[in-house]
Structure formats: structure tokens, C-alpha cells
């Protein structure tokens, strides 16, 4: 497909392929926090890990995740991938919202003193699952949309 195209076209498709490839990588990377989150939370649920250390581990991942997702979303906007941008926007917004809304007395998004209360553990777990699903979905979407476009 690429071979018969003009050099300009080649350049474009090549760039977009690289872009998509990078995107895939990014989403794979972004899947890691969710995956890690699920594992750590289930450890906590089974009492294999202390709430304090669990939360400090998880809180480390919050900022990178927020930044990563925000960057991806902005890149989509810049490269005018509207559909993917709109797909990512709610999740990115939620991440930022969650980060901003942490009360001043709390030790981060995950607070060891509250994680066992009011079913927070479960809701965190649910959230992590949804995110993992989302990233998986994105991953396959990019994967299969890439060659078609190229």
C-alpha cells in the first residue's frame, strides 16, 4: 500500500503509523497503573498489605497517570483525531477532577484512613476495572485502525 504512494503520502502515513504506534505504547503504559492498582487493591482486600503502604504506593501513580492521560488527550486534539479525543476526554477529566478534589487533610487520592470505609475499596476497584477496560478497548481500536489508515 505504502509503496505505490507518493513520497508525501508515504511520509504522512508513515508519521501517522508511528504516531499510532506510540499511542499504542502509551496506552499499554497507561494500562500498567490500572493493572497495578487492581493488584495492589486486591492485596489490600486480602490483607496481604498494610493500608498505609498500599496507599503510598498507589498515590505515587496518580500524578503520572493524570499527566499521561492529559498529554495523550491534548495530542489527539492537536492531531485532530476527534473521535479518539472525545473518547479520551471524559476519562482524562475524571482523573483530573479526582486529583483536584482530594480534601486538604487527606494523603492523596488513596487515603489509608478512609480506604476501608464506605466501600471505598470496592469503588476504587471498580474504577480501576473500568479504566483497564477502557485502555484495552483503546489499545485494540488503535491497533486495528492503524493499518487501515496506513
Amino acid at each position: 500500500m505504502c509503496t505505490r504512494a507518493s513520497s508525501v503520502f508515504f511520509e504522512r502515513t508513515f508519521l501517522s503509523a508511528v504516531f499510532m504506534f506510540l499511542l499504542l505504547k502509551v496506552h499499554l503504559l497507561m494500562m500498567l497503573p490500572s493493572y497495578f492498582l487492581i493488584i495492589t487493591l486486591s492485596d489490600l482486600e486480602c490483607d496481604y498489605i498494610n493500608a498505609r503502604s498500599c496507599c503510598s504506593k498507589l498515590n505515587k501513580w496518580v500524578v503520572p497517570e493524570v499527566i499521561g492521560h492529559a498529554v495523550v488527550t491534548v495530542l489527539m486534539l492537536i492531531s485532530l483525531h476527534w473521535f479518539i479525543f472525545l473518547l479520551n476526554l471524559p476519562v482524562a477529566t475524571w482523573n483530573i477532577y479526582r486529583y483536584i478534589m482530594v480534601p486538604s487533610g487527606n494523603m492523596g487520592v488513596f487515603d489509608p484512613t478512609e480506604i476501608h470505609n464506605r466501600g471505598q475499596l470496592k469503588s476504587h476497584m471498580k474504577e480501576a476495572m473500568i479504566k483497564l477496560g477502557f485502555h484495552l478497548l483503546c489499545f485494540f481500536m488503535y491497533l486495528y485502525s492503524c493499518p487501515i489508515r496506513a
Binding site: D47, R52, P103, G105, H116, N117
Partner: protein, 1134 residues
């Protein structure tokens, strides 16, 4: 004889220190609760290793160590003071001895108390006509009015009384309070071992009964002794395990007295074969309605005969098939045990109507005529139960009970009910557990537990055994509600796993018999304490370590709290719980942090000042926390000198954060208790805070901000402390805003406690000063448990949703409590995850593992058993309104912090609206135009209104932010009894106490005035009223109050001459004075903290405090009770 043998009464004196040793507990090994730490023996080395480097590398100028060893490097006057302090002789008594002395003194009092209680108990049981109903709930030491003096001689126990009390600790079955009434009845019936004899007794009166019984007693005594002799030799060989007795009294005799009679009776009577004690009760008691019985007034002994309607036939319950009220309740026990299940009482308790010792106009004669053979649990079989009786709230104005509101009794069969945990330590909001979450949602009531696990108890079975029997899969401790499948196997009541009975457990040291595992004390008591083995510790038990961190800034010195603290400490130094290893230390701080070297051998205390508050370090790590007994002289010197050392300070800053960091460093090798005294907003170093309160917003009706912490510094610190088994207790004595919301975090998450004294000043505010003094006395001398964890287990299908209280939640059901104190209450919310259709009973078990101040590891276990119901009406019938309100208060606190105060208020109102609407929709025949509540919930709207007008949740009335936050902290950490007084104080009229009915307590006549509505309409100018708010008593005197009362009780000639600040009642030799004082001291005895008394005249500024508590009245910002009801009705109709 049987009287003692079966008397299962569990006497509890809230204020008593208990005849049991300080107790301890530990969860099983696999809940490792202590982070890996060096063994205690290495502590010092480790300590040195970790802290010396810091010390040495510290810049020299920071440590202003004295140039001459003994000189204190502070101001001139301090040095003088040191020199001035008279030389004290070093406390000669070593730790254990002292402990023994102090505990002995407590024991003395408690033994006395319990003796009288016992005497009373026995006599009541003996003289059945006098009505055991005289016992109000959980106040067991009442004597009956008429027999009070006659009883003790009749009972003829005095020589062995003390021993008996202790013996009782093991043999007694733990009872819910109401169980006692029943129990006592059964005594009388059992002693004659013919069911119908009860009826004979009644008319005869106690004199005759007594004679027969005492003769019977002597016969049986001798029988028992003979028996003992023969059995003893047989049994002594089997020394598998031994029970540790509370006191090393010659137990043998008492024990045999306690335990042998039942068989003796069985052999003489022919009611049943080899049935254990319980059977007899039940067989004889049969159709009795315990709940009913208690409703009968003690002042009318004659009416008592009603309750003694005989059981249809004692043999009925003995056919095992007829006695299966519950799915698996003892289904496969050996016959003797199985007999124990009598037909379940048809009539459930009627919460509103068994306040024991009160006149009760309504009695329910019909109840006893109901056939007990109806048997089934279902409420529909019988007439509508009392707790479901519809009450029209808008019309029925007198809904308050005459005396305190009793806890509803779970609708269990009488056998289980007797064994159940006392409602004082363990209460559930719904005593009938709904089968499914859907049903629970329909009822719109919260499901949860209210715990007071470390309460002071006087009767507590303490068990030493090489193996603590627990379920192999869920680690539940064996408890009275497990079922024995056969002699060798038991089925866990929480996870239903079948476990083996260990060989040791087959031997019962109480009866000295073999093969009766169901008679072991663990299975006979739902509250027990185990002495844990080394499996339950990760390091050697820590010593008691106390560190005091005192604010000495200008503000603090001005308020003058140091004198009170040092004085209280000096007075109670020997009573601090601990053993010979007890350690103590002091840190003071203003803009710098001062340490005190109290190392033994110094001639006077050395002050070491660290001014580098950004990087705090310990100047001499190993001499700051010193052994209390070795350095007692130095400690006393320091305490005498401290109040005057800082009198001329000009330092206004407060470096609380660094001081706390230092305290944490100092405590982390051992763990223990840090007591922080703070008087202002921390203004320097880590953890500094800024004023967030806008005084103009205090009475805002809209938004109340800053209920949460401003920084996570204190939370982090608390979690660090909690990890090192250190609790931080905060005493905040401030006159200005000090951001309690942030500061409280240090105690909240480290399982500490919080005390707050607004506008504290030693001379300007004597009431607060007195309160601090009393609080400190209690605080310093009360029991303490170190390095504790608490696990709450519940039957499969239920799970814990949210925890409330001061602790750190370590895992889904494990609370880490660095310290546990007897005044701490906890609450948990439950959810039903799986339907409970397979089971008819659910159980909850809390196990509190702690290290006692004597260095023992102990486990205190409470087990509560509740029935499961499938209909909505039954759920309402079992609602415990006080527990519901307390749990809602906890939830509302959470809500107001996480969301907003107005949200929380709405949620509280909605809780009433929803539950009443749901109830009204279930009851079909009710008119929708009226506001109807089931009798069990009739106080619900009133309590919710009280909550809405409570400092924590009120809006529109000027409330300082700290006051509000403190009220919220208390709601989270107070046990139910105290919390209820805080929410809805008790109001009594006290100017006519002579005319009131009375009860006898310890030879004192205590009048029992009825509860008054909290409304100004009840206040008359001619009267005097006492309001009991838990931590404070107000006495309000009307303008036209009779001069006799003022003269006799207050000691002043007329109203005008009564001073404004009066905090004590004089001892006047007049009947009314005596009655008033005995009533007040009776109220005081029922709580650990003795409240402060405040006399209020009309012009007094404290008047507003008093009138704020009249919650049924309309205020500018809030509804009156009637308006509130109308509002609810409107919302329901919407």
C-alpha cells in the same frame, strides 16, 4: 447451693475498677499487628544506635546542655526552684507492690460493692415476692425498698462473700441485663425444684421462703462438699488446663459451691436427667415472659405474682423436637443440653415498658395468659407485640419513659438470651436482623453495631488455657452460640465449619468433670477474657510508657493549666497503671522544645533545650524516658517545679509539630501513650496552622466550612505513631480558635482520646478547671491497654461497611488501636452481602487483643447473637432507637466532613421521614393523615431533633467551630450511654424529691424522680431542676423556688443570696439535702467521669447553655418538636 451456683447475674459497676486484673488481648499470630520490631531487650541498643549519630552530629550550639552537670540551664528562677524543692524520699514501694496496693484499694471497694450487690441479688432471688424487677437495667446493686436491711443477714453469706464474688466471675453466665430479672425468678423456682412452687412462694412472702431455702442451702452445701471431696481426687490428675482465677482465694470451696449444686438438685428432684443448670431454669421458667416481668413495678411487690404463672408443663420443652426455635440453635447437642431450649417467648420485649424499677401504670396482664406453646418466633402468631404498637406521635405527647430508655432485648429463646452479651458493651441497631439487603433497604434504618469493648467490668471470667479454642477457618473464638455436634466436634456459628474439640477442652476445671465441653466458661459466657500465650505476640509485651508533652508558652502559663496537671500527676503518680517497668517522660515546648533528663542518680532534673525545630532530634535519647520507680524523686521534683518555671515567659509561639515529632521519636522504640496539652494554634515549625474560622460565620445557616483538617501532617504523624504502637491523647485548653479539626487528627488515627476545654482559665473559669481536674484523675488512673488490635467478625453473609471511632483500620475487619481505654466507644455499619435465608441466627464477635499495663497479653471477647427475620414488621419491632440514633450521628459526622453540614442535616431528617413512611406503608390499617410510629421508634423523631439542635449539627445558633468539631469528635468516640446523654439530656425536678419513690443503693435511699420533657413548659418558677448532660449537671433554680429548698439543699437563706458560680452542694443536715445529694451521687456513680455541677440562676450567663438543651422548644433557628413532627408528616405525605 443452687442459689450461688446458678446465679448468673453479671454485676457491673461502671465506675468500679473491677475485681479482675487489667486485661489484655492479642489477635492470633497471623494478624501480625506489630511491625517487625526488635525485641524489647534490644530496645536500648537499637535506640542508641539509631539516635546517637543524630545526637553527636548535631550542631553544638543547638544543645544547650548545662556546663556543669547538675546545673539546669534555664532561667535563674527555675534553678532556684529546683534547689528549693524539698527532698522526697524515693517511693519505697516497687512497682508490683504499688500496683498491688492501688489495685487492692480498688478491689476493696469493688468487692464491697459487689458483695452488697450479691447479697441483694440473692435475697431477691430468694424472696421472690419482693420482685427481682426491682433491678433496673444494669444497675444491680439496688436493694429493694422493703427488704434492704433484712437481706444481708438472711442471705447468710458474709463470711464467704468476697470469695463468692470472685468465684462468681467464672461461673456466672453473662446475661443481658434483662435476663437477670428472669434469672432471679428462676432461682426461686429452681431452689425448690418444682415449677409450681413459684406460685406458692409468692403469697407466702420472703420470710418463709427464706427459711426453707436456707435450710435447703445448708443441706446442699454439705452435699456439695462431699461430692467435691470424692471428685477432687479423680479430677486432679487431669491438669490439662487451669483457669486463672481473679484472686487467689481458696476457691475450691466456692467453686464447688458454685458448680455442684445443679447436679445435686437434679438428683434430688426428678425433673430432668443430668440437665445442666440452664435446663432447670428453662424447664421451670418455661413460659415466663422475661420482658414482661420486668415491667412490673418494684414498689408493688404483690403484683409480682402475675409473672409467676406456671409453665404448662416443665417436661414439654424437654422433648427435643419441640425445642427448635431456630435452625441450628443447639440442634444436635446431647439431650441434656438440648433440653435447654424452651419454647421461644411469644412476646418480644417491649422496649418502652420494662424500665424495671419504675412505677409503671400499664401492665399487661394478658400477656402471661398467652399460651407459651405457641412457641414460634413469628410475631404474627400472637397479638401485635408491644414494640410494634402504633403510637400517634402528634397526639401522644408523653412519649418519654419514666426512667431511662432501656435497650431492647433480642427476641431469642430465653436460653440464648441469658447467654447473650450485655447491651452495655455490644448493641445492634436492629435486634432483629433483616434477612436480605433488600429488606434492610426497605426498612430504611441503618444496620450497625455500637461497641464499648473495653468497658470497666467487675465480673469477667478470665481464662488461662494452653490452647484457646478457635475455629480453624475463620478464627472465631469459641462462644456460647456455637453448637456441639457431639462430644468431640463443634460447629462454628460464624462460618459453619465443623471443628474438633481439643482434648483439653473436654475437661472442665469449674466442675472438675470430663466430657462436658459445653459447660466450660468460654461456652457459658459471652464476655470472656483469655490470657494469651506467646503465639499472640510479635514482641515481648511492652511496658507502660507515658510521655507528657506540655505547652509552656505565654498563653499556657496565663491559663494556668500547668498547676492542675502537675498536681494531678503528683497525686496519681502511684496510681498510674503499670508494673515495675513503667516509664515516664516529659517534654515541654514553646518556640523551642525542652526535654528533661530524669536519669536516676542525678541530683535534680536537667532541662535540655533544642531550638532547632526544623530538624528535631533527641539530645539524650536514653535518659528522657525513665523508670517511674527508680526516678520517682526526680519526677516529683520536676512536677513541683514545672508550674513556676515558666511564669515570666514572653514566648507566644507554639512549636507543637516539632514537639510531637520529638515525642514520636522518643516513643517509637517501645510504644505507649503521649498526652499532649495544647493551648493555642500551633504557629511554628512543621504542622503549623492558620486561623480558618470567620467569627461572622458562626451562626450562619448555610455553609459551615473547615470541618476537615487543614493539613495532613497530624494524620501522617498519627499513622506513624499508630505503627509504633503509640497513641496521642490531646487536651486542648484554648480560649481562641485552635483548629481542633486539624489537631484532632493526631488522636483520631492513633486511637487516642480528645478533651477540649473551651475558654479554659484556672481562676476565671472554675467549672472548666474542676472538670480538667476530674478528667485528669480518671484519665491517669483508668485502665489502659497497649498495642491493641480489635477484630470484628460476623456471620457469613454480613460484612462491615464503615467504621466509626478513634483508630486506624488496618484491614477489612481489623482495627489497630495503639492504646485502648475503657471510655472509648466504637461503631460499625454493616451491610448484608448474601441473603441470610439459611440461618435463623446471626452472631457478631469482637476480639480485643491488648497488652495490659502489667505486661500481660490478653484477649477480651464479646459475642452477640441476634435472630434473623423476614418480615418488615419484625425488623421494626426489633429496632433499638438509641443505637440507631447514635449510628446516624456517626454517619452524619462523616457526611458533614466529606460533603457539607446541610447535607448531613438533610440526611438525618430523611432518615426519620423514610423510616416512618416505610413503616406506615407496611401497616395497612393506619390512617395516612396521622404520623404513626411503632412503639420501638416512637422516640426517633425526638432524638433526631435533638441531634439537629446539638452543637455538632445545629445551624443558625452561634457555634464556635472548635466547639462544633469537638462535639463531632465526641460523637465518633463516645460509647452509646454517654452519647445519648449528650444528645438528649435527662431532666429531673428535684425540689420535691422527698415525695418521690425511692430505691435503696448500698444502704442509701435514692429518690427516683421521673424524667421530664426537655421543654420550658416543664420548668416552673416554683421548682428546681437538674439536667444531666453526661459531662455536666445543671441545676436550675426558679425565681420563686421555695426558700426551704434553697436553704436546705443549697445552704443559702434565699434566692437572691445564691452565688453565680456555684459548683458544689453543701452538706446540710436535712432530708431534702440528703436526698438530693444521694440522687446526684447515684447519677455520678453510673459513669466513669464524675460530671461538674453548675447551679444556674435566672441571670446567670450559663443560662443559655441550659436552655439550649431544652430541645423540644422552638428557637429562632429551629423547629419545636411539634413543628418538627408536622414537618415530617408533610414530607411523608408528599
Amino acid at each position: 447451693m443452687c442459689l450461688c451456683s446458678c446465679s448468673p447475674s453479671r454485676m457491673e459497676f461502671p465506675s468500679g475498677y473491677g475485681s479482675h486484673l487489667p486485661s489484655y488481648s492479642v489477635p492470633s499470630g497471623h494478624y501480625s499487628q506489630v511491625p517487625s520490631k526488635a525485641a524489647a531487650s534490644h530496645l536500648d541498643n537499637q535506640y542508641r544506635a539509631s539516635y546517637y549519630p543524630t545526637y553527636y552530629s548535631a550542631p553544638a550550639q543547638n544543645v544547650m546542655t548545662p556546663s556543669v552537670g547538675t546545673n539546669v540551664l534555664n532561667t535563674q528562677e527555675s534553678q532556684q526552684l529546683y534547689n528549693k524543692t524539698p527532698a522526697h524520699t524515693v517511693g519505697s514501694a516497687e512497682g508490683p507492690i504499688q500496683g498491688a496496693i492501688s489495685s487492692a484499694s480498688y478491689l476493696h471497694t469493688s468487692a464491697q460493692q459487689s458483695y452488697s450487690a450479691f447479697g441483694n441479688h440473692y435475697s431477691t432471688s430468694v424472696s421472690s415476692s419482693v420482685a427481682s424487677q426491682g433491678f433496673p437495667l444494669n444497675s444491680d446493686h439496688y436493694t429493694m425498698p422493703m427488704v434492704s436491711s433484712a437481706m444481708y443477714p438472711n442471705v447468710s453469706y458474709p463470711p464467704v462473700a468476697a470469695g463468692r464474688v470472685y468465684g462468681q466471675a467464672f461461673t456466672s453466665q453473662t446475661l443481658p441485663a434483662v435476663g437477670q430479672f428472669k434469672e432471679t425468678n428462676t432461682f426461686s423456682s429452681q431452689s425448690t425444684s418444682v415449677p409450681h412452687s413459684l406460685q406458692q412462694h409468692v403469697p407466702v412472702g420472703y420470710n418463709t421462703t427464706l427459711t426453707t431455702i436456707s435450710s435447703a442451702q445448708s443441706i446442699q452445701d454439705s452435699l456439695c462438699r462431699n461430692l467435691t471431696g470424692s471428685l477432687l481426687t479423680k479430677v486432679l490428675r487431669k491438669k490439662f488446663l487451669s483457669l486463672l482465677f481473679l484472686k487467689n482465694l481458696p476457691f475450691l470451696k466456692q467453686l464447688t459451691l458454685n458448680y455442684f449444686p445443679p447436679p445435686a438438685i437434679d438428683s434430688s428432684s426428678t425433673t430432668s436427667s443430668a440437665s445442666p443448670v440452664l435446663n432447670n431454669y428453662d424447664a421451670l421458667e418455661g413460659g415466663g415472659y422475661p420482658g414482661k416481668q420486668s415491667s412490673i413495678s418494684f414498689v408493688l411487690p404483690e403484683t409480682r405474682s402475675m409473672t409467676s404463672s406456671p409453665v404448662p408443663a416443665p417436661s414439654v420443652p424437654q422433648t427435643s423436637k419441640a425445642s427448635k426455635p431456630f435452625g441450628y440453635g443447639y440442634p444436635t447437642l446431647q439431650p441434656g443440653y438440648q433440653n435447654a431450649a424452651p419454647p421461644a417467648p411469644v412476646q418480644p420485649n417491649n422496649p418502652g415498658h420494662h424500665p424495671g424499677f419504675q412505677h409503671y401504670p400499664q401492665q399487661y396482664p394478658g400477656v402471661n395468659q398467652l399460651s407459651s406453646s405457641l412457641g414460634g418466633l413469628s410475631l404474627q402468631h400472637s397479638q401485635q407485640p408491644e414494640s410494634l404498637r402504633p403510637v400517634n406521635l402528634t397526639q401522644d405527647r408523653n412519649i418519654l419513659p419514666v426512667s431511662s430508655v432501656p435497650a431492647p432485648v433480642p427476641n431469642l429463646n430465653s436460653d440464648l438470651r441469658k447467654l447473650n452479651c450485655s447491651p452495655d458493651s455490644f448493641r445492634c441497631t436492629l435486634t432483629n436482623i433483616p434477612q436480605t439487603q433488600a429488606l434492610l433497604n426497605k426498612a430504611k434504618l441503618p444496620l450497625g453495631l455500637l461497641l464499648h469493648p473495653f468497658r470497666d467490668l467487675t465480673q469477667l471470667p478470665v481464662i488461662t488455657s494452653s490452647t484457646i479454642v478457635r475455629c480453624r477457618s475463620c478464627r472465631t473464638y469459641i462462644n456460647p452460640f456455637v453448637s456441639f455436634i457431639d462430644q468431640r466436634r463443634w460447629k462454628c456459628n460464624l462460618c459453619y465449619r465443623v471443628n474438633d474439640v481439643p482434648e483439653e477442652f473436654m475437661y472442665n476445671p469449674l466442675t472438675r468433670s470430663y466430657g462436658e465441653p459445653h459447660k466450660r466458661p468460654e461456652v457459658q459466657n459471652s464476655t470472656v477474657e483469655f490470657i494469651a500465650s506467646s503465639d499472640y505476640m510479635l514482641r515481648p509485651p511492652q511496658p507502660a510508657v507515658y510521655l507528657f508533652v506540655l505547652d509552656v508558652s505565654h498563653n499556657a502559663v496565663e491559663a494556668g493549666y500547668l498547676t492542675i496537671v502537675c498536681q494531678s500527676l503528683l497525686e496519681n503518680l502511684d496510681k498510674l497503671p503499670g508494673d515495675s517497668r513503667t516509664r515516664i517522660g516529659f517534654i515541654t515546648f514553646d518556640s523551642t522544645v525542652q526535654f528533661y533528663n530524669l536519669q536516676e542518680g542525678l541530683s535534680q532534673p536537667q532541662m535540655l533545650i533544642v531550638s532547632d525545630i526544623d530538624d528535631i532530634f533527641l539530645p539524650t535519647p536514653d535518659s528522657l524516658l525513665v523508670n517511674l520507680h527508680e526516678s520517682k524523686e526526680l519526677i516529683k521534683d520536676l512536677l513541683n517545679a514545672l508550674p513556676n518555671m515558666f511564669t515570666n515567659t514572653r514566648e507566644t509561639h507554639s512549636a507543637l509539630g516539632p514537639a510531637l515529632q520529638a515525642a514520636f521519636k522518643l516513643m517509637s522504640p517501645t510504644g505507649g501513650r503521649i498526652s499532649v496539652f495544647q493551648t493555642q494554634l500551633p504557629s511554628l515549625g512543621a504542622g503549623l496552622l492558620h486561623s480558618r474560622e470567620d467569627p461572622n460565620q458562626r451562626s450562619s445557616t448555610k455553609v459551615v466550612q473547615h470541618l476537615g483538617p487543614a493539613t495532613d501532617f497530624y494524620k501522617k504523624l498519627a499513622l506513624d505513631c499508630s505503627g509504633q504502637q503509640t497513641a496521642v491523647d490531646l487536651f486542648l485548653l484554648s480560649s481562641q480558635y485552635s483548629d481542633l479539626a486539624s489537631l484532632a487528627c493526631m488522636s483520631k488515627y492513633s486511637a487516642g482520646c480528645i478533651y477540649y476545654y473551651p475558654s479554659f482559665h484556672r481562676s476565671h473559669n472554675p467549672a472548666q478547671a474542676e472538670k480538667l481536674q476530674k478528667d485528669l484523675k480518671r484519665y491517669l488512673t483508668r485502665k489502659i491497654g497497649f498495642e491493641a488490635v480489635m477484630r470484628i467478625r460476623c456471620t457469613k453473609g454480613l460484612s462491615i461497611h464503615t467504621f466509626h471511632g478513634n483508630f486506624f483500620v488496618r484491614s477489612t475487619d481489623l482495627l489497630s488501636l495503639a492504646n485502648v481505654n475503657p471510655d472509648a466507644g466504637f461503631a460499625v455499619q454493616m451491610s448484608i452481602e448474601e441473603s441470610l435465608t439459611d440461618t435463623s441466627l446471626v452472631c457478631f464477635q469482637t476480639a480485643l487483643l491488648y497488652t495490659s499495663s502489667k505486661g500481660e497479653r490478653r484477649i477480651r471477647v464479646h459475642t452477640l447473637c441476634l435472630p434473623v427475620v423476614s418480615s418488615l414488621a419484625d425488623v421494626y419491632a426489633g429496632a433499638d432507637v438509641q443505637a440507631v440514633v447514635c449510628l446516624l450521628a456517626n454517619m452524619a459526622v462523616d457526611r458533614s466532613v466529606s460533603s457539607s453540614l446541610s447535607d448531613a442535616r438533610d440526611a438525618l431528617v430523611n432518615a426519620v421521614v423514610d423510616s416512618l413512611a416505610a413503616y406506615m406503608s407496611t401497616a395497612s390499617n393506619l390512617q395516612q393523615s396521622m404520623l404513626i410510629a411503632p412503639n420501638s421508634l416512637k422516640l426517633f423523631p425526638l432524638y433526631i431533633l435533638a441531634l439537629l439542635k446539638q452543637k455538632a449539627f445545629r445551624t443558625g445558633t452561634s457555634t464556635r467551630l472548635d466547639d462544633r468539631v469537638y462535639a463531632m469528635c465526641q460523637m465518633k468516640s463516645q460509647p452509646l450511654v454517654h452519647l445519648m446523654k449528650m444528645i438528649h439530656p435527662n431532666l429531673y425536678r428535684i425540689d420535691k424529691l422527698i415525695d418521690e419513690s425511692t430505691i435503696h443503693v448500698n444502704d442509701r435511699v435514692v429518690p427516683q424522680p421521673p424524667l421530664q420533657k426537655l421543654s420550658a413548659e416543664k420548668l416552673t418558677r416554683e421548682g428546681a431542676f437538674l439536667m444531666d448532660c453526661g459531662s455536666i449537671f445543671y441545676i436550675w433554680i426558679g425565681k420563686n423556688c421555695s426558700n426551704n429548698f434553697i436553704k436546705d439543699v443549697l445552704g443559702y437563706p434565699n434566692y437572691a443570696s445564691v452565688p453565680q458560680k456555684m459548683t458544689q452542694l453543701p452538706e446540710v443536715d436535712a432530708l431534702s439535702s440528703e436526698r438530693t445529694r444521694s440522687f446526684i451521687s447515684w447519677l455520678r456513680d453510673s459513669r466513669p467521669l464524675s460530671p461538674v455541677l453548675q447551679v444556674i440562676k435566672d441571670e446567670n450567663p450559663a443560662k443559655t447553655d441550659f436552655f439550649q438543651h431544652l430541645i423540644e422548644d422552638r428557637t429562632e433557628a429551629a423547629f419545636s418538636y411539634y413543628e418538627f413532627l408536622l414537618n415530617i408528616q408533610q414530607q411523608i405525605c408528599k
